[in-house]
């Protein structure tokens, strides 16, 4: 106890702004609020986990992000990942698909199949999932602006394959508000976009009640410059905006809240992340219980996917990203994540190779098979440090949410560009901190080496693939019943004009092989297009 830090030692403060002590004791835990919000796993407020047995009963779902080229290329990668033990799929779409454009649109030139799989019509989805048991392998669609259309295609494809849509599980990202903050695959203005999300939640609650139509993403808000407490607080504000949109339609909270899920980032201080997730679980449960009056435990669960990527990984010494990924997986497991989509070491360069994806998959399997991460629930629970920090992180998130509410709510702050300006200013400050060595990144601002060209296998982009995709779209357009397509697109327009739920019309349209671009255009005629506010 006689050790003293030098008088001029810099204070340690975590990224969320919480001062970190050299030691935590029972007194610190009491001062932070004690164990009032701790509870037991599987019990409100779920700080220790949403299930009582967690990984002891079932390990997290392993769901690597994958997709490129056309549907056949992507199907082959899916089969490879499943053969290697992957238990879910996380689909990457190319940018034209994400922006609601067909592969033959002028703006799609050079981008077809580049950062993900190109999807134009239901025909492509039929090819992409051929031979995959959709009851055993749950599929997550990383799609936002065009989510209503792609969810409709997924459900239509599953139904035609003979799966029962009423028991079909799976997830769509479908978090448009965060697309306006970061990531940028918006299409329609803010309010019609919000209504479309409401359409999907309402439709799935009635027709595909096991399907998770929204995965609210703190991940990209953090990538855009938010700190960990802001990441989670903003995600909850956004989730509330979706809940409010659905409640406005008269659907009770317990009919849909249980199908909302979350996607969070994981880079940074290990203990801060673990505390963030534990705090977030309790806070979300409290919000859904206290503010919305939910009664079903499942409605209060903060189900989440985590796995890292983006800002955590480095271009420099890319093999270090394998090690970072291992720690991210460890953090996810210590935090009780339901699903991991573990990042790959070559992500800073290219679409991950098969080899890189297998390393990430094996990293998770190592934790399950060799490290004992599935044996015991919430293994860090009870640590004075982790419990104190969990209380403090929860208080900080509550403070941020109250501040958003006081400023009129998240929808307005996103629409006028305020959140974007705030996180972008923080990203700039962070970059300056990195360049000045104040925020340490190994290989970037310390422990640098003179690197030869890194040995990264670049994913090839084949222009012929894009041409083949465009040819397939032309073939579908030639062989489908174009009168039926025109009628179906009219019905989409009419539903949008009437302010009715557009999903039934969109589902009917995709079944006629109407394309992503055609359905988007029908909606754009009614809703117009988003115009980006740029604030600095």
């Amino acid at each position: 106890m006689n050790d003293r830090l030098p008088a001029d030692a810099a204070p340690v403060v975590n990224e969320s702004g919480i001062p970190i002590q050299p030691l935590y004791t029972e007194a610190d835990l009491k001062a932070s609020g004690g164990t009032a919000m701790l509870g037991q796993p599987g019990e409100y407020p779920f700080t220790r986990g949403i299930h009582s047995l967690m990984y002891r009963k079932q390990p997290w779902t392993m769901r690597q992000y994958a997709g490129f080229g056309n549907a056949a290329d992507t199907n082959a990668r899916f089969q490879y990942l499943i053969a290697n033990g992957q238990t879910g799929l996380n689909v990457a779409f190319d940018l034209p698909t994400q922006c609601g454009l067909d592969s033959d649109a002028p703006l799609a030139d050079g981008e077809v199949g580049r950062v993900g799989m190109a999807i134009d019509t239901l025909r492509d989805f039929e090819i992409a999932f051929e031979g995959i048991d959709l009851d055993r392998i749950t599929v997550s669609l990383t799609i936002n602006g065009a989510a209503a259309i792609l969810i409709a295609m997924y459900l239509a494809m599953a139904e035609r394959r003979g799966f029962d849509v009423r028991t079909l599980r799976g997830t769509a990202q479908n978090d448009i508000l965060k697309e306006f903050i970061g990531r940028g695959t918006w299409i329609f203005p803010v309010l019609p976009s919000l209504r479309l999300v409401g359409d999907t939640i309402e439709y799935c609650a009635a027709h595909a009640p096991k399907y998770s139509p929204v995965s609210v993403c703190g991940y990209h808000i953090r990538e855009s410059g938010a700190n960990p407490a802001q990441e989670m607080a903003y995600a909850f504000c956004i989730a509330r905006a979706y809940a409010d949109e659905v409640l406005r339609r008269g659907l009770p909270i317990d009919e849909f809240a249980g199908r909302l899920s979350f996607n969070f980032n994981i880079f940074g201080n290990l203990f801060e992340q673990v505390a963030k997730f534990r705090a977030g679980r309790a806070l979300w449960a409290k919000i859904v219980h206290d503010q919305y009056g939910a009664t079903k435990p499942g409605s209060m669960w903060m189900r989440m996917i985590a796995g890292g990527g983006g800002s955590g990984l480095t271009f420099e010494q890319p093999e270090l990203n394998i090690v970072r990924g291992a720690y991210y997986a460890l953090i996810s497991a210590l935090s009780g994540a339901q699903t991991m989509a573990l990042c790959c070491y070559d992500e800073a360069y290219t679409i991950p190779s098969e080899h890189a994806q297998r390393i990430s998959l094996r990293t998770m399997q190592l934790l399950i098979e060799e490290m004992g991460l599935c044996d015991t629930v919430d293994p860090l629970g009870g640590s004075y440090y982790v419990e104190t920090l969990t209380n403090q992180m929860r208080a900080e998130m509550e403070r941020i949410i109250a501040d958003v509410d006081a400023r009129g709510g998240i929808v307005g702050l996103v629409a006028d560009g305020s959140v974007q300006a705030q996180v972008s200013a923080q990203a700039y400050a962070r970059q300056r901190d990195i360049e000045a060595g104040r925020y340490r990144k190994v290989g970037v601002n310390c422990y640098r080496v003179d690197e030869e060209d890194p040995k990264v296998e670049f994913h090839p982009y084949d222009e012929a693939d894009a041409a083949a995709q465009i040819a397939r779209l032309a073939e579908v357009r030639r062989t489908r019943d174009n009168a039926a397509v025109a009628r179906a697109l009219d019905a989409v327009r009419h539903a949008a004009v009437a302010g009715a739920n557009t999903m039934p019309a969109i589902v009917a349209a995709v079944k006629t092989y109407a394309s992503v671009g055609e359905i988007t255009a029908a909606l754009t005629e009614v809703h117009g297009r988003y115009r980006e506010p740029v604030k600095f």
């Binding site: 940018l95 994400q98 990531r183 940028g184 360069y349 360049e435 740029v534």
Partner: protein, 164 residues
């Protein structure tokens, strides 16, 4: 780069080409250029080659900078070059940053992109490069500002190329 001296700050159009939605890096670079006293016209997302050439011409910029994280940079720059040439903007400083693999650098230089700032580039190196290579007499000014042109801008040292 002309010999004609011009008053005022160095003027930069910072464009986000194509459908790539990753603008964190672009906005970070925009802030760095503004902090260095430059005037930045940030285009916002989803710009066509035609739009970037038009904004550059109308705004009479000294620097045309692109930020690309999604791999379609060569395709885009091949379409942009003839438009910039035709608009008489071939004497301006052309830059590109972002997720730009080393094997593409020669092709981009041959197209006329004098500065290539791939992931890992430092902000101060970008501003210094612009100062050294814009010889129009413009220099740092007190009147730094940023004008949105309706859409987003450059490259980050921290972003990556996978679109989750």
């Amino acid at each position: 780069m002309t010999d004609t001296a011009r008053a005022g700050p160095i003027k930069v159009v910072l464009g986000k080409p194509g459908l790539d939605g990753h603008d964190q890096g672009a906005k970070v670079v925009a802030r760095a250029l503004m902090a260095a006293g430059m005037e930045v016209i940030y285009t916002g997302l989803r710009q066509t080659p035609e739009a970037i050439a038009r904004i550059a011409l109308e705004e009479d910029v000294d620097v045309i900078a692109l930020s690309s994280m999604a791999g379609s940079h060569l395709n885009f720059c091949r379409k942009l070059k003839p438009l910039l040439d035709a608009a008489g903007l071939d004497d301006k400083l052309w830059l590109i940053g972002g997720n730009i693999p080393r094997q593409d650098h020669d092709a981009l230089r041959a197209l006329g992109f004098k500065g290539i700032f791939a992931t890992g580039a430092r902000l101060d190196d970008i501003t210094a490069f612009i100062r050294e290579n814009v010889v129009s007499g413009a220099g740092p000014s007190q009147a730094a500002n940023c004008t949105p042109s309706g859409g987003s801008a450059a490259a980050s040292a921290a972003s990556v190329g996978v679109h989750k």
